[in-house]
């Protein structure tokens, strides 16, 4: 403890405020990722940055860490003006960051990885001794000579944290640190963070897990749509009130007309299966999937990214097949053993989350990308073997005209379109195929507000024409305004399904955190 006290004394020599941010704005084109953001973090404070995906948290910390340069506004660190040009600048000023995706080298040992992050240091015994001291002080246990590829996510995170702590930072930024941790590892992390804060080091803690923030943080800055909406003491708030403040008022203008009650109870697509193992071990295993969707209705599946959405999409699209045909039934026909192409023939179409590299190929032109999924329509493929460029171009042209896709030509590469225009093209490509069931994942991710509205209208139009739509999304506003029924996925498990009318943001938040999903 005496050691901690000594460090605390040294650190407290500086003023009470550690970081001050005033009027920070960052624009990407017309889109304001951050608008007039103000943030103050005291010495020794654990300060939460709360907000939904896309609220601007990442943009803010990227500016603090020198990855992005603010368009307007100023920052102060330890009572001195602070405007880092690069992360290494930020490091030298005493700011450290632990990213959500770890930048560690699998083939190297823990010691070598840490040495690489420190300028002018070598993986020798002197460094090992220093690391051992830091590990001991903050109760971070990790074996220095193990290779990183043998480590679990929690251990990798510790390597990152140690690497940052070796630089003796005054301010530590952690980006959703617990998203990859088990509850026990989370406990350990909190112990470490408490220790750091006792020494007078400040921590910016980015999260959307409300109960964690309430347990750990001294203050919370809430962000929504690029702006700071409130600064609160999370210990004085309930999870529910925090959730309301984070999500804010709902927009209900795009609410759709109700499905007729006769249609409502018929299931067009039913999925009923025990465990589903994805091909890639990076994807989450699904347990006990049960879902069903009626013609003309939109089912929303909410959830924090990385909770099995990828596996679920693959399971529905046919990229992942199951041995038992009855696990997925479309209009009475068992289809779980069918691959992508056969399911597409039966009217099950989709648009995956990753537009470039999954839904489309960046290097190919728009009309060539049409061939990927629409080749069996409008004579694009002749005699099953020859491609008719004319038909493919005509189809692409129709998509572009019908759905107002802004592109210089049919011959533009998919990679040259903006996110919104490419998404309109990709959903349009499937819409013209008149889907019976349409599965779409995060369709408005990284899309501007106008295109977002247009895409929502496309999905609703599809449902109005009798298709069943499954919308996998992280965007709570989107889910509540577009869907008819809603459920959540957490750790590969689906919650019960509720009518969207009866759903509140808090309830949905709880579902997303897996609170009502029994094991």
């Amino acid at each position: 403890m005496t050691e901690s006290v000594a460090i605390a004394e040294r650190l407290s020599a500086s003023s009470k405020q550690c970081l001050g941010v005033r009027g920070l704005s960052k624009y990407f084109g017309d889109f304001a990722a951050n608008r007039d953001v103000t943030l103050s973090v005291d010495a020794g404070e654990i300060h939460a940055l709360l907000g939904e995906n896309g609220a601007g948290k990442s943009t803010l910390v990227k500016m603090i860490y020198g990855i992005l340069k603010p368009d307007t506004g100023s920052m102060e660190l330890l009572a001195k003006p602070y405007s880092p040009d690069s992360p290494s600048d930020a490091k030298h000023s005493g700011v450290g960051m632990v990213f959500q995706h770890f930048a560690v080298f699998d083939a190297l040992t823990v010691l070598e990885n840490i040495a690489l992050g420190l300028e002018g240091r070598f993986p020798d015994e002197i460094l090992a001794a220093e690391i051992a001291e830091v590990c001991d002080r903050y109760r971070l246990h990790v074996e220095l000579n193990r290779r990183v590829h043998d480590l679990g996510a929690g251990e990798r995170q510790r390597v990152e944290i140690i690497r940052v702590l070796m630089q003796d930072p005054r301010l530590l930024i952690l980006d959703e640190p617990t998203s990859v941790l088990t509850p026990q590892e989370t406990e350990q992390l909190f112990t470490t963070l408490d220790r750091l804060s006792d020494e007078g080091r400040s921590i910016i803690y980015i999260s959307h897990k409300l109960d964690e923030v309430r347990a750990l943080c001294d203050r919370a800055t809430l962000m929504r749509a690029g702006q700071v909406v409130d600064v609160v003491d999370p210990r004085q708030e309930s999870t529910r009130s925090l959730g309301e403040k984070m999500i804010g008022e709902r927009l209900t203008e795009t609410k759709r007309s109700k499905v007729s009650s006769a249609e409502k109870h018929k299931a067009r697509l039913t999925v009923r299966v025990g465990d589903v193992y994805p091909e890639s071990t990076r994807n989450v295993v699904l347990n006990d999937v049960y879902l069903s969707v009626a013609p003309g209705s939109i089912l929303g599946i909410s959830g924090v990214s990385g909770n099995g959405q990828d596996t679920l999409f693959d399971l529905l699209s046919g990229e992942l097949t199951l041995p038992n045909p009855d696990s997925i039934v479309l209009d009475g026909e068992p289809i779980a053993h069918f691959g992508v192409e056969k399911r597409r023939f039966l009217g099950l179409l989709g648009a995956p989350e990753n537009r470039l590299g999954h839904a489309a190929i960046p290097e190919l032109t728009l009309w060539e990308n049409v061939i990927l999924t629409a080749r069996h329509t409008r004579g694009i493929l002749k005699n099953d073997h020859l491609i008719s460029g004319t038909s493919a171009k005509a189809f692409a042209d129709e998509v572009i005209k019908t759905f107002d896709v802004r592109t210089p030509s049919l011959n533009a590469k998919a990679s040259s379109l903006s996110g919104g225009n490419l998404q309109k093209f990709l959903i349009g490509r499937e819409l013209l195929g008149q889907p019976k069931v349409f599965v779409v994942s995060n369709p408005t991710w990284g899309v501007d507000a106008k295109a977002q509205l247009f895409i929502h209208q496309m999905l609703m139009k599809m449902a109005d024409e009798g298709a069943s739509v499954i919308l996998i999304s992280q965007d709570i506003d989107e889910l509540l305004s577009v869907t008819d029924r809603i459920c959540a996925i957490c750790h590969g498990r689906l919650s019960r399904t509720f009518p969207t009318d009866e759903m509140t943001p808090e309830h949905l938040g709880a579902l997303m955190l897996g609170q009502e999903i029994d094991s």
Partner: protein, 353 residues
């Protein structure tokens, strides 16, 4: 500071500018090497690259060398587009030559219009089987096709050696490791009165045209290209990776086998222990020189064939070792790979920002 940054727009001619720069660098380096040997670069280059083409004989020889390079280059271009790295075309060529040659010897002395097609078929099947082995191992066990196909090359070469030292040896050949000379019905006709240029070159041109058609119009070509560009998107499109692996290696094997049987029946006229001066490996350079465009394989094949002639000319008229062929080809591949960076990236001099 020098920066390398991604091009915002890439144009079709960037590829060919990169090829042109590679050629210029190759010639420049070759000149420097010649100068360092105390030779006058300009007259030496003229002697080894231009003079060999001054006669019908020379052109005929050029076509003979270009035949296997173009034939195999087209097939490899298709496979490489699909991201399937068949490095063993040399082995598939040898296997094709061996199997086709064995058929020719089995029907030795038999006349008939069907003999030649049967021999070509035999060779093609031999190469096909040799390409099928790495395909099966890749699909079934995810074995690396580069290693498997490369190692199978040495197996094929040794197999040929065993056969010409043993069962296929000419009974009246004084124990030399050579087969009988093929009879007329088992020999491809020559194109000219001089040199070794033969009908195989016409087949090679047909393959290039067919290959272009497959790439541009056939769904199979599109499917293979998509799989090579993005396996994930290919899967979403309903294309099977296994099918692409099979097709790339079967096409590569069959066509290389065809090139092998054409080489023994058109050029050599018998089976010998060494039927190819690494045509199968050099065709890799040809495919990349053509930027994987089947039609462009024709000029690329001719150019690289010239490097073989140039090597011989260098040996005869300048007294430089025959290995200069490999030096030239190595330089070419090196600069091609180096300059291919320029297709998607540009180099900028200046400051950050």
């Amino acid at each position: 500071m020098i920066f390398v940054e991604a091009r915002a727009v890439t144009r079709w001619y960037h590829e060919w500018i990169a090829v042109l720069i590679a050629l210029i660098l190759t010639v420049a380096t070759a000149s420097a090497l010649l100068a360092s040997l105390g030779l006058d670069p300009v007259s030496s280059l003229h002697r080894i690259f231009i003079r060999p083409l001054n006669s019908v004989y020379g052109v005929s020889e050029l076509l003979a060398k270009a035949t296997p390079l173009i034939t195999i280059g087209v097939a490899l271009a298709l496979g490489f587009r699909a991201g399937v790295w068949n490095i063993g075309a040399e082995g598939q060529l040898v296997m094709g030559g061996l199997c086709g040659g064995a058929v020719a010897l089995a029907f030795w002395g038999v006349d008939g219009f069907w003999v030649m097609p049967l021999i070509l078929l035999g060779g093609t099947l031999g190469g096909l089987v040799w390409g099928a082995i790495p395909a099966f191992l890749k699909v079934r066990f995810n074995a690396n096709e580069i290693l498997v196909s490369l190692m199978l090359t040495y197996v094929a070469i040794l197999m040929l050696s065993v056969m010409v030292h043993g069962p296929l040896r000419d009974p009246a050949g004084f124990n030399f490791p050579e087969s009988r000379l093929f009879h007329d019905a088992a020999t491809l006709p020559k194109l000219f009165s001089a040199g070794r240029g033969h009908l195989g070159f016409v087949f090679a041109l047909m393959f290039a045209v067919l290959g272009t058609w497959v790439v541009k119009r056939w769904h199979l070509g599109f499917e293979m290209r998509v799989t090579g560009l993005s396996p994930t998107a290919a899967k979403f499109a309903g294309y099977s990776r296994d099918r692409t692996v099979w097709m790339a290696l079967l096409i590569g094997g069959a066509v290389s086998g065809f090139a092998g049987v054409v080489e023994v029946t058109g050029n050599i006229g018998q089976l010998v222990p060494n039927i190819s001066p690494s045509y199968g490996f050099t065709a890799i350079i040809v495919a990349f020189l053509a930027r994987l465009h089947p039609l462009a394989v024709i000029p690329a094949g001719l150019l690289v064939a010239l490097s073989y002639l140039a090597g011989e000319a260098a040996q005869l008229s300048l007294g430089i070792p025959a290995a200069s062929t490999q030096v030239f080809q190595g330089l070419l591949l090196f600069f091609l790979l180096g300059t291919s960076l320029l297709v998607n990236y540009r180099i900028r001099f200046g400051r950050i920002g």
